[in-house]
């Protein structure tokens, strides 16, 4: 049985100017593996990820033929059941940590709150676990970070705190929406290898959303390429360079490469897609 099964997912927004179809029939399944979702901004990556957690705000509407997590119907599950899944069995790292961390609460309190309320840990045990999680995401001075408020952290630090927070309950599935886009390349590589290790060691499933085809090719097993709300190509990451779809090829070719040719970069032929 697959960890996650999504069939013909649609996300639609009712706006003054009519219906906006953000996701137009996406299907995929996920085991204990790393699935990448790539595409340009506006292609529906974030909405696909949020729909799995049923976190699309009105006027957005989620429809699908089926959506199951670990055999459970998460399309029709009551909201109470979804709340129990979110954060605990399915974690999500949002694109912008600034909006996901509570600005008026210290990092330490945010990290330990769930452990104390949900898992009934004492103050000292919860703090120890939180510090261990911060260390796992390569934060060198976890005690200082525990006392900090989110605005006192750099973007990269905030993103790592987010990842630490999501990992504390040891979820079975992590949805990471552009988790490294705000990070320096060296830090990016570190964070990705942390996620990598979690998939390998804990058998976690990972949905890795990114606009960067190169990262996805390197760090995922399988890739969905999205364009205008549709999956235009599904491909083994190792074979991405042999992608056939003109959109995928266009995205690959427009990237400059170290030591590559100096002439004009190929641009996407939008008419040809």
């Amino acid at each position: 049985m697959n960890l996650l099964e999504v069939k013909n997912l649609r996300v639609t927004f009712a706006t003054e100017t009519g219906q906006v179809q953000a996701v137009r029939g996406v299907s995929f399944s996920l085991g204990h593996e790393r699935l990448g979702i790539v595409g340009e901004s506006g292609s529906g990556k974030t909405m696909t990820g949020r729909a799995v957690l049923r976190l699309v705000r009105p006027p957005g509407r989620i429809e699908a033929d089926a959506m199951t997590f670990d055999g459970r119907d998460i399309l029709h599950a009551p909201e109470r059941e979804m709340r129990a899944l979110r954060g605990k069995r399915i974690g999500m790292v949002m694109q912008d940590p600034k909006y996901s961390l509570n600005p008026v609460m210290t990092v330490g309190r945010q990290l330990t709150e769930g452990l104390r309320l949900r898992d009934g840990l004492g103050r000292a045990d919860a703090a120890a676990k939180a510090i261990a999680a911060l260390e796992a995401v390569q934060i060198r001075d976890p005690r200082r970070v525990m006392d900090a408020y989110p605005h006192e952290l750099s973007g990269g630090m905030g993103q790592r705190v987010m990842i630490a927070m999501m990992l504390i309950p040891e979820p079975d599935l992590l949805i990471a929406d552009e988790p490294t886009s705000a990070l320096d390349v060296t830090v990016q590589a570190e964070v990705l290898s942390i996620l990598d290790g979690l998939v390998r060691d804990r058998g976690m499933g990972l949905i890795f959303i990114s606009h960067d085809l190169r990262l996805v090719a390197r760090f995922c097993d399988r890739v969905l390429v999205m364009h205008k709300g549709l999956v235009v190509e599904e491909i083994e990451a190792a074979h991405l360079l042999e992608a056939r779809h003109p959109y995928t090829r266009g995205l690959l070719n427009c990237l400059p490469r170290i030591g590559g040719p100096r002439g004009p970069l190929p641009v996407l032929d939008r008419a040809g897609i």
Partner: protein, 259 residues
């Protein structure tokens, strides 16, 4: 012959909460006319501060900056802005949200009392590949790539010789990035421009620049030619770690992540 941009021993120190933050320390750099020079390094390494110091927007506490052999005046003044212009990462933040594109583009001419604004606005839009009718739009009516084209058009209104480019494509999708990089290269060739360009993306810098300075903690750790970069002939461990982690190398499928 002297270089067009000469920076010698530049030091910039900010005062923050009573503490001194040395953002740039003893950096020397020279860029020949028509050359394209890159600055790379992790965030906080001082790249933006160097560009801002050239424009008089950072507290220079040591060293000198010369343009065309002459020390830059303080304040920079009008003559400076006809020679040097800057383009920022976030085209949304750098364009006035309530000014039409027409007003944004004609303002530099008005400030300098230059005539013919109407024709120049149309010409500038055409040069950056936008339809002339875009002059009547506001920034929020443009896509990110279109806004960056407007920002580039505005920087070119006064016909400067030097463009300082601070992560000009970092906020754009790869396909739009390619269009903007192509535009910048075309304009550099057509107008004989000199670039000093900042990016955290080594592949972008490699594509755009002849020579590259690697910065770390406000200091220059290595200067390398494009050819040496392509052949991984860097001499410092830090430059190599940037090279190894560059996402572009991940396409080869042969490189392991640094861990």
């Amino acid at each position: 012959m002297t270089a067009l941009i000469e920076i010698e021993n530049l030091t910039v120190a900010f005062r923050s909460k009573g503490r001194e933050v040395r953002a740039v320390e003893g950096v020397s750099l020279s860029v020949e006319a028509r050359e394209s020079h890159g600055l790379v390094g992790e965030s906080g390494s001082g790249k933006s501060t160097i560009l801002r110091a050239i424009c008089g927007m950072a507290p220079v506490t040591g060293g000198s900056i010369r343009i065309g052999g002459r020390p830059v005046p303080t304040p920079r003044g009008r003559a400076f802005s006809t020679e040097v212009q800057m383009v920022f990462q976030d085209p949304y933040a750098s364009l006035h949200p309530r000014h039409t594109i027409d007003r944004t583009l004609s303002e530099p001419l008005a400030i300098h009392g230059l005539p013919g604004a109407d024709a120049r606005v149309v010409q500038a839009l055409t040069e950056v590949g936008l339809p002339p009718a875009f002059r009547f739009r506001y920034p929020h009516q443009l896509s990110g790539g279109q806004r960056q084209r407007v920002a580039i058009a505005r920087a070119l209104m006064l016909k400067p010789k030097i463009l300082l480019l601070d992560e000009p494509t970092s906020a754009l999708d790869a396909s739009v990035q390619a269009e903007v990089l192509n535009l910048l290269n075309r304009l550099r060739a057509e107008q004989g421009l000199t670039f000093l360009m900042v990016s955290h993306d080594l592949a972008v810098i490699d594509h755009m620049c002849d020579r590259i300075m690697v910065l770390q903690h406000g200091r220059s750790v290595e200067e390398i030619t494009r050819d040496d970069l392509a052949h991984a002939r860097m001499t410092t461990a830090y430059a190599r770690s940037l090279f190894d982690a560059s996402a572009d190398r991940m396409l080869d499928g042969t490189t392991e992540p640094t861990s």
